[in-house]
Symmetry: C2
Subunit: 146 residues, 2 copies
């Protein structure tokens, strides 16, 4: 298992946390940031404790993912023909204590697990949700990961 | 005190919550939504319990605000010359149980209070943060609100 940003095209970008007495400010994304490829939709995905969402592969969407509450473990799987990291898996756990933006390009398989009691993920996407734009695979279709 | 969307230019837009067994999905904004005026930056602002942030007035930024955790009470004050709601105050409390996107146009004064134990606000802004683009006023400079 690689670190997730060793998978070709995946970016992990450290994000600033600005200390403020009345409540801290957590950066998420600027349109000049690495991994930004346009804004079409922002949505939150909750991940219940212990639960694993995935596998899902977006065909065109680039996801920019930020964990603002709890802790979420992400695993990516590369089966892209011609990729220099084909057949590799990469993982990372993100939280406020390991506060990075995770940029996932299209055509990678992704799954993620909620590790804390409450887990809140923000996706800043360059395409709006379309049911035909992604494909799903059973978690147990890929062995030895979860 | 008016409801906040009675202040001229302020929008309250109901947002969908998609029930999902593994963890619900909460819409925040699409680029085709009411109130969208371009994307430049997304950031989170925590508001500690009982604490009030403000007053702040953005001179150019439109804010699109979503409360994904806890409950936050917002108050807007209109001192815009020529506004049909000049000298009015408007308020709303937002949470997952009253799940709306709050669009605040530039030149309105805004303050907000964290009502729950943990309060997390997402701002989707059409400008990146610039210190000179906003002005501040002491909370007690406007009487009878907090």
């Amino acid at each position: 298992m690689k670190k997730i940003d060793e998978i070709d095209g995946v970016l992990l970008t450290p994000l600033k946390i600005i200390p403020v007495n009345k409540g801290n400010v957590f950066h998420a994304m600027k349109n000049s940031d690495p991994g930004f490829s346009g804004f079409a939709e922002a949505y939150f995905s909750l991940v219940n404790q212990g639960v694993i969402k995935g596998w899902k592969k977006h065909l065109e969407m680039t996801m920019n993912l930020v964990v603002i509450k709890g802790e979420i473990k992400f695993v990516a799987y590369d089966d892209r023909e011609g990729s220099i990291t084909i057949n590799s898996f990469g993982a990372i756990s993100l939280s406020r204590n390991n506060y990075f933006r995770l940029t996932i390009p299209p055509k990678l398989w992704v799954s993620f697990q909620g590790l804390a009691e409450e887990n809140v993920l923000l996706n800043l996407a360059n395409l709006t949700h379309e049911p035909d734009e992604s494909v799903n695979l059973d978690l147990n279709a890929i062995e030895g990961i979860w």
